[in-house]
């Protein structure tokens, strides 16, 4: 392995950048392909497949064998609102292999007792996200119902191109939210990415069922995401 390639690979992983290390197994040469850097042909298709599935694999192209070692940042779900739905989402996310963190400035909600084993910030989203920026491998679910808390992280998630942005609230609530986001300078195209009402339409009624619907929607968004 080229020492420079190893340095670049470690840098990319530290920066939460998705990448594939391509090694020619016949001659040992390697190169790093970051997500968003287009590679043509059969190799390029295989690289895209590896990025989407997260599975490393060998591929044979014109008698030459390549190994594609894919490195994806761990997908992380940021939930705004330490509510009942969030309490049910936390164990589902853990089971499905997603990191989940909770932000809620309302200290009565954001207690460690209500979220054992989950990282909970009892601070304003503005402050938390300043230190822990969102990125395309983050999902954001806003479930407080309170524009004072939800609006900023929703706008920020759209700006940072999070793979999923969902917001709780009726169609009426959402229409008002759209107006506020537009007034705040977020484009219509970005706003249309928001999943609202939140969750797959499975007729979910209880907080636990809504949690299942939201998690399913997040998983769908991740597995069917468009590569940058």
């Amino acid at each position: 392995m080229d020492p420079l390639v190893l340095k670049k690979l470690n840098q990319a992983r530290n920066d939460r950048k998705a990448c594939v290390l391509v090694t020619n197994l016949d001659d040992g040469r390697d190169r790093l392909v970051l997500e968003g850097h287009l590679v043509e042909g059969e190799l390029g298709e295989a690289i895209s497949r590896a990025l989407l599935t997260g599975k490393s694999m060998t591929i044979q192209i014109n008698e030459t064998e390549f190994f594609l070692n894919v490195h994806l940042p761990p997908a992380k779900i940021m939930v705004i609102g330490a509510v009942h739905i969030t309490q049910a989402m936390a164990p589902i996310a853990k089971m499905a292999g997603y990191d989940l963190e909770v932000i809620d400035p309302r200290t009565a909600f954001a207690t460690q007792e209500r979220f054992e084993g989950t990282l909970v910030y009892s601070e304003w989203p503005e402050d938390v996200l300043a230190n822990n920026p969102l990125d395309p491998y983050c999902a954001l679910a806003a479930v407080t119902h309170d524009p004072k808390i939800d609006d900023f992280p929703i706008a920020e998630a759209l700006r940072q191109n999070c793979f999923y942005v969902g917001a709780l609230g009726s169609r009426k609530t959402h229409a008002k939210r759209v107006e506020r986001l537009l007034a705040g300078g977020i484009s219509q195209e970005k706003i249309e990415r928001i999943k609202a009402p939140i969750g797959l339409d499975i007729g979910a009624a209880s907080p636990q069922e809504i949690a299942v619907a939201v998690m399913a929607q997040i998983i769908e968004a991740f597995r069917k995401r468009r590569l940058n």
């Binding site: 020492p3 992983r13 090694t23 197994l25 490393s56």
Partner: protein, 109 residues
Amino acid sequence: MSDKAKLDDELMVAEAWMKSGKEVAIATVVSTWGSAPRLSGSHLVIDEDGNFEGSVSGGCVEGAVVAEAMDVISSGEPKMLEFGVADETAFEVGLSCGGNIRVYVERLG
């Protein structure tokens, strides 16, 4: 916060060893059949003194990989190793039985 935490895995170890002037080999699981214990892409990194970090199996072929890595470090020529994990002992039935892995070993630099 976990994001801010520095990565601490065998590829970081390999880079640290390299920076400290050591010769390093990197072994990578490139394909698996059956119920192999480690996924494709898993690494074992080895330095010139035979120190190692990471794993390419549940522990049964690491010794052989380390020995081959010594050759790779001195020759600079990469090697492809194949193991039938079922041939090795110390694997419980139903866990890794019947697994096969191919491990690519290369020198860093």
